[in-house]
Symmetry: C2
Subunit: 337 residues, 2 copies
């Protein structure tokens, strides 16, 4: 592709161009040890303790969808990003950019949903900001939530920590969120309705950390899907990751919808799933802990970390072939989160 | 005014309707002790220490203007909000919502400006997020910065603390930012060019706190201007505030521009000014500390806190008359920050 001079939709896909933009424009210019690590949450040493700090803007369209809305998404997404560092999420900020003309009733529904999600996750909204822009200068509602969590002493969970011999687990089926948004946006109806999996996973992660001291990586496969997130981890840790296609849970309705629309579920966004990479000896008890959580009933071991093919993700297909599973390139589905 | 069912531009003005929306929709629903206080930064007790946490989204149009750009504004605004709690600003998050088609060169200029402002303020950008929305669904670039600062032990600075007998100081002239944006947006040119005062004020605040233990309130008069911010403080503290019109510094060029356009400089936004309310005995040394800072040469005592007219701001005019100075009502200048 010719080098572009303008920002493309794919720069926000979570895939290759996103990584390129973030590395070349942001991390290289603003660089410091914390930013350079490129985890979902930065880990800060403050006053003897360690804090996790993260931010995400949500621009999902439409703002209401089966299984959630932009408010629930904004709370769960940031809670999950904090939890992926092993932190206990505590405080969230809430900043809204509202398009003039948004019905106050819609805003109120979103706030109710934020309230419910925050209560479920056990976090407080402690500071906020409201901006309004003229009609046509935004699209209904954009939300930024930033979050602070407390990292328990002795924990070091990061994408850099995956090591050969570790097992790769996934907390449930993939592609639900992306296909739910797609169906809602385009007015498709599937035989079996697909709902977003949007959920706060900090309870699940607390249960995992309670049964294992050998958790290396926690990461939620959002934009770019499972394939892209695994590639990020492989890149950060410079280990190889092999995944068994057969082992990755995909709901029938999601699989059919993906086939119909030409999507690969491995690249479709999730908002309530967790990748857990841990020492093999602890796999059984971690799996049991995940499955005991309401959002983890379908958890499965989906692969392993290898010494071969460092930095790459390999897919062992249903037929036994092996192929390199790359990051998302281009844009699959804009404004998914 | 008839009760509206939709969000209006004035809901984002920083004035009366903003307050109403924030109170009725956000604070009442998401309420907790920290949010209810309604300071610019929340003060969190974590691990023995106290942290300040704040968030702001920036939607200023145009994104480049005399004296700064949206990047410098996003760093300075959040640094200043942290500093108003007495905190030493430490870590910022950076989340961008980019409209498809933004020239990468413009994005790069903004990032350079963020880098320079962060270096001057002594803060690190430690975590970030990038979203891209389709052409026409945002306006070039919106930025959210959230920030964490450390509050030194023993400090309690808040809008609730103003008390009768305190003096009200202002670090310099008002209206510069608002009129600079206005001129740039509308293509006006004034005889003497007006530039935004956008600047990080944490150095100034450190100097103030080094010479006085009787600082009650620090607040930067941004959206809604000096008049609106003083009203917020009067409301929070339930004290009266009297201001001498003659004592409030306004640059000649800003005054002329305001007269021409029918604006009252008391309601025009600032991005590099600080209101300091402190015990009267410390006024001289605080004033000296502010004036010794590069951004505080024109600092002045502009009024006092009174027991009479609790919750109200009174303006003593140049001719000696007194009138109630209300919050901004309606919207003066949308997308000023």
């Amino acid at each position: 592709m010719e080098k572009t001079k303008n920002v493309l939709l794919a720069h926000g896909s979570g895939g290759k161009l996103s990584q390129e933009l973030v590395r070349s424009m942001f991390v290289s210019e603003l660089e410091n040890d914390l930013l350079n690590r490129m985890d979902d949450a930065a880990s800060l040493n403050i006053g003897g303790g360690r804090l996790a700090f993260t931010t995400d803007s949500y621009v999902v369209s439409p703002i209401f969808f089966p299984g959630g809305d932009i408010g629930k998404l904004a709370v769960c997404g940031t809670v999950n990003d904090l939890a992926t560092s092993g932190a206990v999420p505590k405080y969230l900020s809430l900043a809204m950019i509202i398009e003039e003309g948004l019905p106050l009733e819609d805003l109120s529904r979103v706030v109710q949903s934020i309230k419910a999600a925050a209560a479920e996750a056990g976090v407080q909204i402690v500071t906020g900001d409201t901006k309004v822009v003229n009609r046509g200068k935004a699209d209904r509602l954009f939300i930024n939530t930033s979050g602070i969590g407390v990292i328990p002493e002795g924990l070091d969970i990061s994408g850099v920590n995956a090591r050969p011999g570790d097992v790769v687990m996934l907390s449930g089926s993939i592609g639900d969120h992306g296909m739910a948004i797609m169906a809602q946006r385009e007015g498709f109806s599937f035989q079996v309705p697909v709902a977003s999996d949007c959920a706060p996973l900090n309870g699940m992660i607390a249960a995992i950390l309670a049964v294992s001291k050998n958790v290396r990586v926690l990461r939620d496969p959002t934009r770019g899907g499972l394939a892209t997130t695994l590639n990020e981890i492989a890149g950060q840790s410079q280990a190889g990751i092999t995944i068994n296609e057969n082992a990755v849970p995909v709901k029938d309705a999601v699989r059919s919808a993906c086939e119909l629309l030409g999507f690969d579920p491995l690249y479709v966004a999730n908002e309530g799933k967790m990748i857990v990479i841990a020492g093999a000896d602890d796999a059984d008890r971690i799996l049991a802990a995940i499955r005991s959580n309401p959002y983890g009933a379908e958890a499965a071991v989906i692969g392993e970390v290898t010494a071969e093919r460092p930095g790459k993700v390999i897919l062992r297909t249903a037929l036994g072939a092996r192929r390199v599973l790359d990051m998302l390139s281009g844009e699959l589905l804009p404004r998914i989160c």
